[in-house]
Symmetry: C2
Subunit: 372 residues, 2 copies
């Protein structure tokens, strides 16, 4: 990474921010204390909720850490003021309503109500940015789009290192041009939301594997690359470093640790033979996100509209009720393609194990002791 981030990291290991209560301060602290980079997820939180977590984290570690912010989503054409023009992926509120009707049975089953799809589109972006400029943190990353040049400049002046997710070479170029310090190359293997800058149906099925993506980005941009997607072992970290990345970002690997705030059912599902595979689905949030295939995805994925964050608001009470009922088949079991390699180690210990595996893989590669 750029010298700024190298100074922050003893190990090229970044804990991916996982919104929805998974990336709690305890997890981030354990990772940062072990020499990796812990991360908080500001997504779905208020600016104040984010700030409370930052304060809590600072109380747990003096180490470096990051905060991830979701970019506000453009208005869908025809649904509000400030419309940035037709995208071809516009979900008129009618399609959200159709989906709501299709989910009526779920609401009845879990004895709850559907959420209000119109409970806000911008996830408190401006307020969060103001907090992060007012009381700067070491690292801020962005998902679902590219911040303005101005915002990235302001963060840099505040001493903050900035990262932005990209899923294609074109997106990575946009990230570099906006002035970010580094780009997160998110492969199609990654659990949770793909950070694609614009969710258009045309992109469906076009997700790029991590190793291809890193190779393409390495020749498209000059800023450092953090590789994310399906990384569960130190040997894979060695692999992405060999391919040209400066560090790896791991989500699912840390989701399984005791420090993570993931629901116990979610943690257990990662290695439950009942869940054999993952898929990208719009069923839960209206934007492609990777989860273990369960009943909810099978039933609703095929016709879920491209309408984020409306669908996220709509299904939230269903997911809460399913979790409360102990029904993993109705929850969003976010997981990357490597989920079956999850280990329940404490997060700090996981960082140590990953670092040792990285060293071993590196040594094996050069001494030629790789099995050939």
């Amino acid at each position: 990474m750029s010298s700024a981030l190298t100074d922050l990291l003893r190990r090229p290991i970044v804990q991916a921010p996982m919104a929805g209560g998974i990336s709690v301060p305890q997890l981030a602290a354990a990772v940062s204390e072990a020499g990796g980079l812990g991360f908080l997820a500001a997504g779905y939180k208020t600016a104040d909720g984010m700030y409370q977590e930052i304060k809590q984290l600072r109380g747990l570690t003096g180490g470096p850490f990051g905060v991830n912010v979701f970019m506000p989503q453009p208005e869908h054409p025809g649904t509000g003021p400030g419309t940035p023009g037709g995208t071809g992926s516009a979900p008129p509120s009618a399609t959200v309503e159709v989906y709501a009707n299709q989910l009526a049975g779920e609401a009845a089953w879990y004895q709850t109500e559907l959420g209000d799809p119109d409970s806000g589109r911008d996830d408190g972006y401006d307020a969060k940015l103001a907090v992060l400029l007012d009381d700067p943190v070491p690292v801020v990353s962005f998902h679902f789009g590219v911040p303005s040049h101005k915002a990235l400049d302001a963060l840099r002046r505040a001493g903050t290192f900035t990262l932005v997710t990209a899923t294609t070479a074109e997106e990575a170029l946009a990230v570099q041009e906006a002035g970010a310090d580094a780009v997160i190359a998110q492969g199609v293997e990654a659990g949770g939301h793909q950070g694609t800058h614009r969710d258009v149906r045309e992109n469906d099925g076009a997700g790029i594997g991590l190793l291809s993506l890193v190779a393409q980005l390495r020749e498209s941009v000059s800023i450092p690359i953090v590789a994310a997607g399906g990384v569960m072992r130190g040997s894979q970290i060695a692999a992405v470093l060999a391919a040209g990345a400066s560090a790896a970002q791991l989500g699912t690997a840390f989701l399984a640790t005791p420090e993570s705030g993931a629901h116990a059912l979610h943690k257990r599902a990662l290695t439950d033979p009942l869940f054999v595979r993952t898929e990208l689905t719009r069923a839960f949030t209206g934007r492609p996100a990777r989860a273990l295939v369960n009943r909810f995805m099978r039933e609703h994925g095929p016709y879920a509209p491209a309408a984020y964050p409306e669908i996220n608001h709509l299904t939230q009470p269903l997911r809460k009720a399913a979790a409360k009922a102990g029904d993993a088949q109705g929850m969003a079991l976010w997981a990357g393609q490597g989920h079956r390699l999850a280990r329940e180690l404490p997060a700090g210990q996981l960082v140590e194990v990953l670092a040792a595996e990285l060293d071993a893989a590196t040594a094996a590669l050069t001494t030629g002791s790789v099995q050939r």
Copy 2:
């Protein structure tokens, strides 16, 4: 790889077999002469056609080489004798007929006839195996399924090293249990046909990225792994070796070389900005295969049935006519996700460049000169 294959390879670089006239003897010879492993593709050929190519290749190089064979496809339930039972993915001949009707306009446009979907299912498997046992070659690989224990044993006794493609850890286990010498880990990034053992609709969207797949296979099987899918640079070869593979197999990278038999339009399309992305499609052959997205895929992909090899037979005259008319929008432009990194170097020179890149990436990884 196992000592047997190590002896054959000076470089951990395997040229992927590409059926349909791409992997010609000239290409395989150039790769083998440069210290990689050249490959012929027996798919879509008669046993005698395959043998003629083997003889030709032997005249061009004394080096080791491989021959790839397609596994015969199980009869679809209800369409013939010897039905292995319902798979849930059965394409009754009716769905093939519906697709034929939908392609009628294409046939009219290209002034040709559709092919006969029933022109054979087994691709001459038994005859090819007999030839390969009668006059053994150094390496034989299999795609679309697992050969019998007996067949693999017979090849081993004949002195042939055997490889079988797998796209999941479960498939890799089946490959190992059948007694193959090594497994090809084919990531979702790979161009052309995915070698999934059974084409069931349920697998759609479940393709695993190469780096995740190698990590999973490394902990599922003990036989050597050859990593395939999107590999275009030596740094990616270093990456898959670090992840636990013994060699990398590259298709699209060699497709672009002057020695490959690919149509000039196909070669040009790989780096033509008109074709920005690839997708898995059943439009051309009835089985998921990755190609550059063009008009034919966009129009017919969404409703193409799971019916290989019937659809392959059906569309063959269309593809030929499109190529003859110089219309890349009607051809099957097989390509992996790394296509934009294709280089037009002679194949032997490409092997040299890849090997140098591999060495450089390995050295950078260990001296820590990776940009951090």
